[in-house]
């Protein structure tokens, strides 16, 4: 049978970095093909060359047996290649239909009527593949899951027969994930070829027909799920054995909850209401508190208020009403500078937006929030020597892979950037830590490290609020767990009550009357 895609010996360099060192990859009609690898292994880069976004430095690409030289996505789209990017490639201010039309060749005019025709066609496709969507909605109004559907729909609208999905499940609920794959299966059954990139080994095992593993720009192998196991795949990716999540979780539960002393809460919020960026309500009457030595997980799917909660907790967003207290004193109106001083730390959900400053060195980034404080100098002079010393120390302690403290932070891989953020935040004297999506997009090795750090911090007596969309993370780390849905806390469980099914359902909005307890505050202490 003719291969739908055959990539041979693809090489791609970025300056001195060799992202791909001669990778072969092929794709059969009607198959779902998973692409696995650590952060920075080259998965996205490989697919970008297939999609015409990046020209390969060496190697050949054939589609349906014909060799291609894509100079732009335009060429690839014309050959039936569609891609759903890791970071969605949608213009938030435009409507779904406008996003679909974008880049399409055709007459210069684009009248209301033309857009209406597009909408109609989109609605048709949506109905056929069960991707319900309003083509007239503006993208910024859509949840992440919906945005992903827009991406898929757009690719189909453009006639994609080869569909690439880059980490499609990273931001979806378990429920949404479960809905996505059957749809992909339907597509594949109609003859389309699908590649999906993921870090979730279970998804791979349950849904892929074949699996290709990349490591450091090279292909380690291609196999079938039946020939493999999660542990095996993890070893292939990392090149060594990895303690899987359950292990970390198990250890923690031994040293954690059971004996954790119940003290007065460090951080508590009451009746918080807050608006999102576009002025629509994002948090409604949210209350909770967290005590020293415990991790309170707030689980939720993207688009339900986690980022806003993160911001309100750290003083980056002013709530419309409600109260935030730290160690008993009201800090509602204070800014991050004040809260840092009071011993609150934040591991931000978007590490490049809030966590590191790419243009500064690793050493500078490690003391971002402490310049001017002893021992790093005074307001009149920064002590560069102390900063360097601190950097060396933290780089060692947190195993940050850098060529030296003067390397620019922007050149770090995602996992290392996250280590840097953790190193900075945890090297302060903290009373309380807000950790938002601390392992998003990280590979298994890096996740392991972050979890260990958080658990250790908790064991040192920190109060930790963990905001996460990742069910595994919540199940592994939480001493207590709430679910946030549409801006409200809808459930509350202790560690003993936690259950994958329950949490997953609650994150998806399903009612669970048995456990849901609105009077969160009364259950504490």
């Amino acid at each position: 049978m003719e291969l739908s895609v055959s990539m041979k010996a693809i090489v791609k360099r970025f300056g001195r970095v060799q992202a791909l060192a001669g990778v072969d990859f092929d794709l059969r009609p009607g198959e779902i093909h998973a692409l696995l690898g650590e952060n920075g292994a080259g998965k996205t880069t490989l697919m970008n060359t297939l999609y015409g976004m990046l020209p390969p430095d060496e190697g050949t690409i054939a589609i349906g047996g014909r060799e291609m030289q894509f100079r732009s996505p335009q060429d690839a789209i014309a050959e039936g290649v569609g891609m759903v990017h890791q970071h969605f490639m949608l213009v938030p201010t435009l409507t779904v239909a406008e996003n679909a039309v974008l880049g399409e060749r055709g007459g210069p005019l684009l009248r209301k009527r033309d857009l209406a025709a597009v909408s109609e066609r989109l609605a048709e496709l949506a109905a056929r593949y069960g991707l319900d969507l309003d083509p007239g909605a503006r993208v910024w109004q859509l949840s992440v899951g919906e945005q992903q559907r827009v991406e898929v729909l757009r690719a189909l609208y453009k006639g994609a027969r080869i569909l690439i999905l880059d980490e499609p499940t990273a931001t979806l609920t378990p429920l949404e994930t479960e809905r996505l794959f059957p749809k992909l299966r339907t597509l594949a059954a109609e003859g389309a070829s699908i590649v999906f990139i993921t870090h979730h080994l279970e998804d791979v095992i349950s849904w892929a027909d074949r699996i290709t593993v990349l490591r450091r720009g090279e292909r380690v192998g291609t196999l079938r799920p039946s020939e493999s196991s999660a542990g095996e795949l993890a070893r292939m990716m990392v090149g060594r054995d990895v303690r899987l999540m359950q292990v970390v979780a198990g250890e923690r539960s031994v040293s954690g909850t059971k004996e954790a002393p119940r003290e007065a809460p460090v951080l508590s919020i009451e009746g918080i209401n807050a608006d999102g960026d576009r002025g629509t309500p994002a948090l409604r009457d949210v209350s909770f508190s967290v005590a020293p030595g415990e991790i309170l997980a707030i689980a939720g799917v993207e688009g339900n208020g986690q980022p806003e909660l993160e911001e309100v907790l750290f003083g980056l967003r002013a709530p419309e009403s409600g109260r935030v207290s730290l160690d008993g004193s009201d800090v509602t109106g204070t800014d991050p500078a004040d809260r840092l001083r009071l011993g609150l730390g934040l591991v931000p959900s978007n590490r490049y937006r809030r966590g590191v400053i790419r243009e500064l060195t690793v050493a500078e980034n490690l003391v971002l929030d402490r310049v001017g404080e002893p021992p790093f100098g005074s307001e009149l002079r920064m002590n560069r020597r102390e900063m360097a010393k601190q950097a060396e120390e933290l780089i060692r302690r947190f195993s940050i892979q850098v060529s030296g403290p003067d390397q620019l932070a922007g050149t770090l891989s995602g996992g290392n950037a996250q280590r840097l953020v953790l190193a900075r935040v945890l090297s302060r004297e903290l009373r309380c830590l807000v950790a938002a999506q601390p392992t998003r997009g990280l590979d298994v090795g890096a996740i392991e490290f972050v979890w260990e750090q958080l658990a250790a911090a908790r064991d040192r007596g920190l109060a930790i609020v963990l905001l996460s969309t990742d069910l595994d993370e919540v199940l592994s780390m939480a001493d207590r767990c709430c679910v946030i849905y549409r801006g409200r806390l809808v459930a509350h469980w202790t560690r003993e009550e936690l259950d994958r099914e329950r949490v997953g359902l609650a994150m998806g909005g399903a009612k669970e009357p048995a456990v849901a307890a609105p009077a969160v505050a009364s259950r504490e202490i």
Binding site: L316, D335, E359, L360, L368, L408
Partner: protein, 351 residues
């Protein structure tokens, strides 16, 4: 992409080999713009070689000529330093011209009206008034942006017009020079005039400008404040998360850059015009933007860029006088130069 890579590149510390390439690029740009300038001179009917000789001669041939270059460079350096700092924090103050005029006005009012017989005190007060007024005028912009996110490019730009109108009113009505047929304000008290260096005929504000360069360099590179400014410029969100109070920083940067522009205005009044006179500036506040950016938002760079632009303008005037080519050519050459510098610089980076 929250941070402009271009600014990032401007702010990032250059490496040595890059520095060499940058120097070569600048040299190339100088050469190219001299060629284009020469072409214009030929069109105007002049001889480019002798024109350029007279450019250098006029600017640097005599102590007085050198002094004139310095007189022009002083406000450019002072304003340029403030703008460099503000631009590092991505606070785009386009209103230095207005801040200069407000500073000049306040300092002139003090120097004309305050009955203080003791020169140094009067000068000190007049300068202080200039700094405060410039800073205050800048602060309006800063507060509007800090509190409501009002775009500072526009507010500062519009306030230029308003400041100049206020200045015009004062020199036309309450403080008009008696007998003047035109827009000229009263002369300052003789005690308030800045002493000038002999031969060079440069007022002693020169030393202030020169002292500000290392000070600004120190603030930018060595103090937590300078560091926070860079944080803000690279990534305002991350800076805020790391405890930088961005609102205060924006207001602070507007106070500083406005205050320095006000200082420049005060020096123009006390050292150059010695009266309230609209002729204290012809777009210095705008030229200083070019100075700040050409100087790569770097204190020493600002000094060099200011000297270079001043040399070009001053020498250009000499050239037009000696060679009889229209002065308008001189207006065009800095712009042409900047364009070529941008191109050459960019090419040097990519190869």
């Amino acid at each position: 992409m929250s941070v402009s890579q271009a600014t990032a590149r401007l702010i990032a510390p250059p490496r040595l080999s890059r520095r060499l390439r940058a120097i070569l690029a600048s040299a190339g740009a100088v050469l190219l713009s001299l060629v284009v300038g020469g072409l214009l001179i030929v069109i105007a009917g002049g001889d480019p070689l002798s024109a350029y000789r007279s450019l250098l001669d006029g600017a640097l041939g005599t102590p007085y000529g050198i002094g004139q270059v310095l007189v022009l460079a002083i406000p450019l350096v002072i304003i340029g330093l403030g703008l460099a700092l503000a631009f590092r924090g991505r606070v785009y103050n386009i209103g230095a011209e207005g801040q200069l005029f407000m500073g000049a006005l306040a300092s002139g009012v003090v120097a004309i009206l305050l009955p203080v017989g003791f020169g140094p005190l009067l000068i000190g007060l007049a300068i202080l008034a200039g700094v405060v007024a410039g800073a205050g005028w800048g602060a309006i912009v800063g507060l509007l942006r800090a509190h409501w996110g009002v775009n500072e490019v526009i507010t500062s730009l519009l306030l230029n017009f308003v400041a100049i109108l206020i200045f015009t009113y004062v020199v036309r009505r309450p403080l008009r020079a008696p007998g003047s047929p035109d827009l000229q304000g009263r002369a300052i008290q003789p005690e308030a005039a800045l002493p000038a260096l002999p031969d060079l005929a440069v007022h002693i504000g020169l030393f202030l400008a020169l002292a500000l360069v290392p000070l600004a360099a120190y603030v930018m590179a060595r103090t937590p404040f300078g560091f926070r400014v860079r944080m803000l410029g690279f990534n305002a969100e991350a800076a805020r998360t790391a405890g930088v109070r961005s609102g205060r920083m924006v207001v602070g940067l507007m106070l500083i850059s406005g205050g320095l522009a006000g200082l420049a205005g005060a020096l123009q009044i006390l050292g150059v015009a010695e009266r309230l006179d609209p002729g204290i500036s012809q777009g210095y506040g705008f030229t200083a933007i070019v100075v700040a950016l050409l100087g790569r938002l770097n204190a020493v760079g600002v000094l060099l860029a200011a000297l270079f632009i001043a040399l070009l303008q001053s020498g250009g005037q000499a050239m037009s006088v000696i060679e009889g080519v229209p002065y308008a050519i001189v207006l065009a050459i800095p712009g042409v130069f900047v364009v070529f510098l941008l191109i050459a610089d960019r090419l040097a980076r990519s190869y």
